[in-house]
Structure formats: C-alpha cells, structure tokens
Amino acid sequence: MSLATRPVPVVDNWNRPFWQACGEGRLILQRCTATGRCFFPPAPVSPFTGRPQWEWTEASGQGELWSFVVFHQNYFAGMKDEMPYPVVMVKLDEGPFLLTNLDGMTAAEARIGMRLAVRFPGGPEGFRLPQFGPAEAVA
C-alpha cells in the first residue's frame, strides 16, 4: 500500500469541506434541500434545481460495488508500486457514484453487487482518501 504517494486531490471551494471531513474520517455529501437528493462531485448548485440550495450531510458510507477495473498501465509515478491496481465504482446508498479503491480485499474477491463500506486508511500528506472494503468487516 502506498497511499502516501498517491496523486494529491485538486481542492477547490466546493470540495474543500469534503476533503476536510475525509481528514476526520467522515464521508459527507451535498444534499439538495428542495429534492432531498445527494450529488457528487461537490458543486456550487444542486443539479436537480440549478439553485444554491443544498446542505452538507453525513453519508452512511455504505454502498454497492457497481463495477470495477484493474489497471495494468501506469499513469502516475506515485502508484508504480501498486501495479496492477483495481479501481471500483461504488454506488452509495445516497445515490451518487464514487470511483475509489479496495481496502482489505483484492480485485479477485470483488463481486458486482456486493456491499461495501468506507474506510480511511491514509493518503498523501494532509489528506485521507476514502477507500472501500467489505461491509461486514466494519461494525
């Protein structure tokens, strides 16, 4: 595992609270106050109304493995030691998708439809990257 050498997130005015929460081991999402629906990536307005009417909400951190891939070609110097590495597409229970990685399990164990839960095992300096592992492992 070399999360410390991962590419550094691009922080902007909209996703700064998301990354701050990750640093505290919490997954948060923007929720449209008009429709109650969550969205990601963070944005200035709700995509469901086009209006700046939203609030940050604590996400369950639970979701379903929707699809996954395994990279055999390296694009990032800091990920060389992880080759080949999986990327999973997780459909959060709140609706939005996250593209993330597996923690505590391998790509060979990945099954589409399986339940996954978030965890924050590390990241580049100043950040903790949300990763996902088997849901039952986190009580």
Partner: protein, 392 residues
C-alpha cells in the same frame, strides 16, 4: 429503460427530437470533397502540416482552390487562426471545435447549419492530429478521480464493459468479433496502419491487458494523420467535380448528468433518442447498407448498436457474433476502412470520410456492393447519429 437505472438520478425521460417530423435540412447539404493523409508516425511535420496535406487533397478532390473556401472549422490543431494564416484562407465563418472525438459529428452539424443559414457557402473542415509523434498520453494528470488512480478514456469504457457483462451476460469474447472484423477490413485497405497484419479472435483474447477487462486489441490506435471534408449546399455540389454525398439526417442528444463517472446506462436513453435520425433522413434502417461506428474502444460498437435499436439492450454480443459487421460475411459491414481499432485514430473524421467514399464507389477491395446510404453512430455523452446517402 433497464430496471436498474440509477434511482438517484434525474431520469426525466429524453424526448426524441423531431421524431416523425421531416428535418428542415434533409439532403440540403453535401460533401463535395474528401481528403485524408497517410497514417503513421511523422515527426518531420506536425498537425498543421498534416492538416494542410489533407485539405489540399480535399480541395483537389472537389476541384476547388483555397480562395473558394469561405468557412473554416478546425479541429485538434492548436489554432484556427494560424491554420487559416498558413493556408491563406480569410473566411467569413471560422472556429476551432473541442478536441474530443464527439466533435467530429458536432463540427459537421455546425457546418451544415452555417451553410443552411447562409453564414457560409463552402466550408472546409480540417482535422489534424500528431498524437503519435508527440507521444500523446491519454490519461494521467490531475483530475477529479486521479487520487484513486482512475484515469484515461479506456478505463471509463472498461468500467462500463465490466458492468455490461454482469448485467447482460456478454463476454470479452464478443468483442473479439468486432476487433477481428475491423482488422479484416484494414487488411483490405492499403492505407490502414494495420494493413497486412491480420488478427484472429484468439489473438484478441490473448492480448495483454491494459485496463481489465479490456485488452490491447480493444483499444484504438494512436497515430498521426489528418482528414478534411469540404461541405457546401447540395445544389452547388452538383456542379462540382465529384458526385455529391448528401447529409440526409442528423440527430443528437447530450447527457451530462453522470457525475464525472462512467455512464451507468451505456448511453441507451440518449442513443435511443438518436433513432430520430431515420425519420429526419426519411431513410429506414433496412435502407442502409453499411455503418460507421465510433470505435475508440470495442465496447462502444455494441453500445451503439444497442442504443440505435439494431438489437435490444444487452444483445449486442449476440448481434456481432459470426461476423455480422464484416464485409462479405454480415448484413452490416461496419468501419470498412478498419476504423479506429485498425485503420487510423482520426476521432470520427476518418470514419465519416469512409462513409462518403463508400457512397462514391471509391473503396476498391473494401467496397460495399450497391451502397446507397450509410449511417454513422457515436456513443458518448454527446450521442449522435447521422445518415448519408448518394444523390439520386
């Protein structure tokens, strides 16, 4: 729509644009000239040099001079201004369109609209790409998902294909029929990068993985080259050197709600909306002899066929089996030049040029017998289809 379409999404239901309504621009705009360069690795030139080569070929094809061009659309070169300066063209309509391949069809539609409204009479559309010689990398850099190592168009399609296999029971071997058919076509095309290098479905299966579940032979080529089209009104085109090829119909539906993630619906709703292209063109699916499908990665061919209704959602694998897309074997010869997988990665520009050539009987060993109409499909967040036909 599939039952498991994301419930957390805005599924407002896309309206098929103009369905059953005749398209005001049907058969009013025509291809008057086509030019393509050699394809390969040409460090001695650049995208401008290649663009000039393609445009000169198209001008010769149409029997025109640079001074006859009053509209210019440039793609994949750095600057429309510099290209116009180099070619000595001072148009009354000029722009540079965005680099992604979906903009080949978009550029074509813009040119047709400009001609129909009188903004320009004769428009040159020029695409020049030297991605091979400058070692262009499609992936890496900072993006929304780079901290998780998610990058590159290939990975996005690999993610979608993995889901497609799970959802519908398709297999990686289904894609082998696509790769094999297009390579067969490239072997009939002396200008194709992969001419003389046949592959089998076994080669496709045994290729090295790039982003699993996709392997090397599911990926498009990266090569240098350029393509130019000259468009004008059908009326003016009839007085030019070559028989005009008419733009009979064009349909487009965008979807940008995927949250910067791979499309979770294989673009079925937006491609479905593009089925209006048949009504717009006044040409039915059975009246079409061949296809051009944007094959940046082999799965998009299946997504395109499913979305446009050639088969039901999820049945693309069955549809392409037994060489359905292969010239001389199947009903739907597709990407007869070899496509992006085996001819040249000209981001749709070359595939559309091949459709025009088929309709002028210019294709030699790879000619589709009695080609009267060709359909182009592009499965992306800007879903598009267009139908071209011979002038009556």
């Amino acid at each position: 729509m599939p039952a498991d379409l994301a419930p957390g999404r805005d599924q407002t239901g896309l309206q098929a644009p103009g369905i059953q309504a005749p398209w005001a621009m049907r058969d009013t705009v025509a291809f008057a000239g086509i030019g393509t360069t050699r394809y390969g690795n040409f460090p001695e030139t650049d995208s401008y040099g290649l663009g000039c080569e393609a445009l000169n070929a198209a001008l010769d094809d149409a029997g025109l001079k640079p001074g006859d061009i009053d509209g210019l659309i440039v793609n994949r070169m750095p600057s429309y201004e510099r290209f116009a300066e180099i070619m000595g063209i001072n148009p009354q309509y000029c722009l540079l369109t965005e680099a992604p391949g979906r903009f080949s069809g978009v550029s074509l539609a813009l040119a047709a609209q400009a001609i129909a409204t009188g903004a320009a009479k004769t428009i040159a559309l020029v695409y020049g790409n030297n991605g091979r010689s400058v070692r262009m990398m499609y992936g890496g850099g900072d993006s929304q998902w780079s901290p998780w190592g998610m990058t590159s168009p290939g990975a996005i399609h690999a993610m979608m294909w993995q889901r497609h296999m799970h959802q519908y029971g398709t297999t990686h071997a289904d894609l082998g029929w696509v790769a094999e058919a297009f390579r067969h076509h490239a072997c009939l095309n002396p200008d194709a990068v992969m001419h003389g290098r046949p592959i089998t479905r076994q080669d496709h299966a045994a290729a090295r993985p790039i982003c699993e579940p996709l392997k090397l032979l599911d990926y498009c080529l990266i090569n240098d080259g350029a393509v130019a089209w000259i468009l004008t009104s059908a009326e003016r085109a009839r007085d030019m050197k070559r028989p005009p090829v008419l733009l009979s119909g064009y349909a487009r539906q965008d979807a940008f709600h995927y949250g910067s993630a791979p499309a979770d619906d294989f673009w079925q709703p937006t491609l479905g909306a593009c089925q209006s292209v048949y009504d717009r063109a006044g040409i039915g699916r059975e009246d079409i002899q061949g296809l051009g499908i944007y094959d940046n990665f082999s799965p998009t061919v299946l997504f395109s066929l499913e979305g446009l209704g050639f088969c039901k959602p999820g049945e693309g694998g069955d549809f392409v089996r037994d060489g359905a897309l292969q010239l001389g074997t199947g009903r739907w010869p597709t990407n007869t030049s070899g496509g992006h997988l085996s001819d040249s990665y000209m981001q749709g520009w070359g595939i559309i040029a091949e459709c025009v050539r088929q309709l002028r009987d210019d294709c030699g060993d790879r000619q589709i017998p009695n080609a009267q109409a060709m359909q182009y499909i592009c499965a992306t967040n800007i879903a598009q289809s267009l139908i071209l036909r011979r002038d009556a």
